[in-house]
């Protein structure tokens, strides 16, 4: 049943967010530390268990697949509720700080991607089209 998949997904999210909040408390910050990331790891691990007693049937997995396929529309809704007006009409210092932070971060993606990469760096840096 689809609800099994959806419930498993919900369980992973609640567990992850809880652990993220506890982590934030432990290191003394008022923020969730990696709750979604922890939930994702949990879901990957639970869905990889190879036990006859714990096997997600295709009908149950559909409960996860549905939400996965709703991700883009949900992100579009998220975009539509952002405070874009305030971002666009913000003062020069906020605009320049935001724009430069993004540009410098983009530029560093290739450099940091090479860290700990065992496959030959020469073939990786070729643009793959």
């Amino acid at each position: 049943m689809a609800i099994y998949g959806a419930a498993l997904l919900a369980f992973c999210m609640l567990t992850g967010v809880y652990v993220g909040d506890v982590l934030g408390d432990l290191i003394g910050v008022s923020a969730n530390v990696g709750g979604v990331g922890i939930a994702m790891m949990l879901l990957i691990m639970l869905s990889n268990i190879k036990s006859p007693y714990f096997q997600l049937k295709p009908a149950s997995a559909a409960g996860i697949a549905f939400w996965s396929s709703m991700y883009i529309p949900i992100v579009v809704a998220m975009a539509a509720k952002q405070n874009v007006f305030s971002a666009v009409s913000s003062s020069a210092v906020a605009m320049v700080a935001g724009v430069l932070a993004v540009l410098v971060s983009f530029a560093l993606v290739p450099t940091i991607s090479r860290i700990g990469d065992k496959s030959s760096p020469a073939s990786r840096s070729e643009p793959r089209q």
């Binding site: 008022s30 809704a77 539509a80 700080a97 935001g98």
Partner: protein, 254 residues
């Protein structure tokens, strides 16, 4: 007539939100196929139109929740809120490649710390260039350049004034909107085409909404990898900005 219809749309807000987003998606994919032959991805156009509608909503109502501040579109706020966003992002991890994640683990961790440090430094330098001299102000604006959550958390911890905190939120908003729009444009130049670089990208950018939107418009298959690292960024930022980074700024400004 209109009163009756708008009453129904408001009462069934979430369902109305599905219709709104569904129409926006259909229109965007039609534009993509008809006018760009699929060169500009339909989801990229949809996110662009979503941001545009958010701008219109903000301009018309003066509110902070984009199109959702217009009563008949209020359900968009629930559909696009943190709860459903995180639920859908986690769902995409189903079937993600555990080996790829382990393989890029070190680069992913480095990218989170490097990302916080770089965005903070850039934001702080811009603040100094604009004439700010108080270490609290500089650190709060620098933290805002990390994400729009790190900014106010840092500003509150350091006792910054409310206009500086508002400035830090604005810097974070600019960042998140630019990451959504910019990612598909720069993806091929920065090698954003595999799980490893997606994890590094998520860690460097850090804004969960920016990364979620940016990867949706570039290659949705990369989302689980980018989102995985991005969700640690805000926590690390809230840890570093009001402590070591602020102390460093204070030492440098004396």
């Amino acid at each position: 007539m209109w009163d009756l219809l708008s009453a129904i749309l408001i009462k069934n807000g979430f369902v109305a939100g599905l219709v709104f987003v569904g129409f926006l998606m259909w229109f965007s994919y039609w534009l993509s196929a008809r006018f760009t032959h699929g060169h500009i991805h339909g989801s990229a156009i949809a996110i662009g139109l979503g941001l545009l509608s958010a701008y219109v909503g903000g301009a018309v109502t003066g509110g902070t929740s984009g199109i959702a501040d217009i009563a008949i579109f209020s359900g968009v706020a629930l559909l696009g809120g943190t709860m459903f966003r995180d639920f859908a992002i986690i769902a995409t991890a189903y079937g993600a490649d555990l080996k790829a994640i382990k393989h890029a683990g070190l680069a992913g961790v480095v990218s989170i710390f490097a990302g916080v440090l770089i965005s903070f430094s850039v934001g702080a330098l811009v603040a100094v260039a604009f004439g700010y001299r108080d270490p609290v102000d500089i650190s709060t604006i620098g933290a805002g350049a990390a994400t729009y959550i790190v900014g106010p958390v840092t500003g509150t911890a350091l006792g910054a004034s409310s206009d500086i905190i508002a400035l830090s939120v604005a810097a974070g908003l600019v960042k998140s909107v630019l990451v959504m729009i910019g990612t598909p444009l720069v993806a091929s130049f920065i090698g954003l085409d595999n799980p490893r670089s997606a994890m590094v990208y998520g860690g460097l950018m850090g804004t969960t909404s920016g990364v979620a939107g940016g990867l949706a418009a570039t290659d949705p298959a990369l989302l689980p990898y980018g989102a995985m690292t991005a969700t640690f960024y805000t926590g690390v930022g809230c840890l570093l900005a009001p402590s070591v980074l602020y102390i460093t700024v204070r030492a440098l400004m004396l």
